[in-house]
């Protein structure tokens, strides 16, 4: 099995990604996830759990963008881009 992996890598020229690299990246991902960030356990959470939570999190972020777009479409409809209100909004946000 490992010889198959080696020969395939030699033919495709892709550098070997170390397991450590992946572990590091997965732990960075874990830091981002609200569900897992506060877990005190120093044990590794399984990679599949991190991936699952990541997918859930991305879906919830997409939903939030949808909701905010809904809300903004109602609010912004009354504001003309050149009006003083728009200038106020811009200054509130900067």
């Amino acid at each position: 099995m490992s010889s198959r992996r080696t020969s395939r890598q030699q033919s495709s020229g892709v550098p070997r990604i170390s397991d450590d690299q992946i572990i590091q990246l997965v732990s960075k991902l874990r830091q981002l996830l609200p569900e897992l960030r506060h877990s005190r356990r120093s044990d590794k959470v399984s990679a599949s759990k991190v991936l699952q939570e990541t997918c859930n999190y991305i879906r919830s972020l997409h939903r939030e963008v949808e909701d905010l777009s809904d809300r903004l479409s109602e609010l912004l409809s009354t504001i003309d881009a050149d009006s003083p209100e728009a200038a106020i909004i811009r200054s509130l946000l900067m």
Binding site: R5, I17, S48, I58, H62, E64, V65, S69, A81, L93
Partner: protein, 171 residues
């Protein structure tokens, strides 16, 4: 892949591009008399997505994929830069990556990881084009951070608009 310099810088870039896109859409719609709430919502969402990708300045695969996706179909065609990946090239890349990705892991646990990774690829723009898991995870990290910045700016705008609407109501 260049890391984002600063969350605040990114948010400012995003806001600038988003407001510009919204203004352009407003002008376009005012000319065509299309003012439905659904239209407006789609415009807001679409321009926010494009602005988020553009604010990344082509440094990530996901941002390039989003811009390419919207270049071919969006109503903002005067604003988006030309696509970096034509459809044919994208299909070729997918085929090559699928061929090279066969059976890296073995065993039932690895099958679970593979399944979850496949789901993640569908959620992250351009995910199908990222060859190895490390790239996918790196892009995911950047994409999630950018999405959070986008949401933060949108939330603030909603709050500010609320305040303006309240002030107008009290006049």
């Amino acid at each position: 892949m260049r890391p984002p310099t600063n969350s605040t810088t990114f948010k400012r870039e995003f806001l600038k591009k988003w407001l510009l896109a919204l203004q352009l859409c407003n002008n376009h719609h005012n000319n065509n008399n299309k003012n439905g709430v659904v239209e407006r919502k789609n415009t807001i969402k679409l321009s926010a997505e494009i602005a988020m990708a553009a604010a990344r300045n082509g440094a990530t695969c996901w941002s390039r994929a989003l811009i390419a996706k919207h270049s071919s179909s969006s109503s903002l065609h005067n604003q988006t830069p030309p696509p970096r990946h034509s459809k044919k090239r994208v299909l070729r890349c997918k085929r090559i990556i699928r061929r090279s990705r066969r059976c890296i892991h073995h065993g039932p646990a690895a099958a679970v990881v593979r399944r979850k990774t496949a789901v993640l690829r569908k959620l992250v723009p351009g995910g199908e084009l990222m060859g190895d898991e490390a790239s996918l995870i790196r892009e995911t990290l950047d994409y999630v951070t950018s999405l959070r910045a986008q949401i933060d700016v949108m939330r603030r705008l909603a709050r500010a608009s609320d305040r303006v609407a309240m002030c107008n109501g009290m006049k």
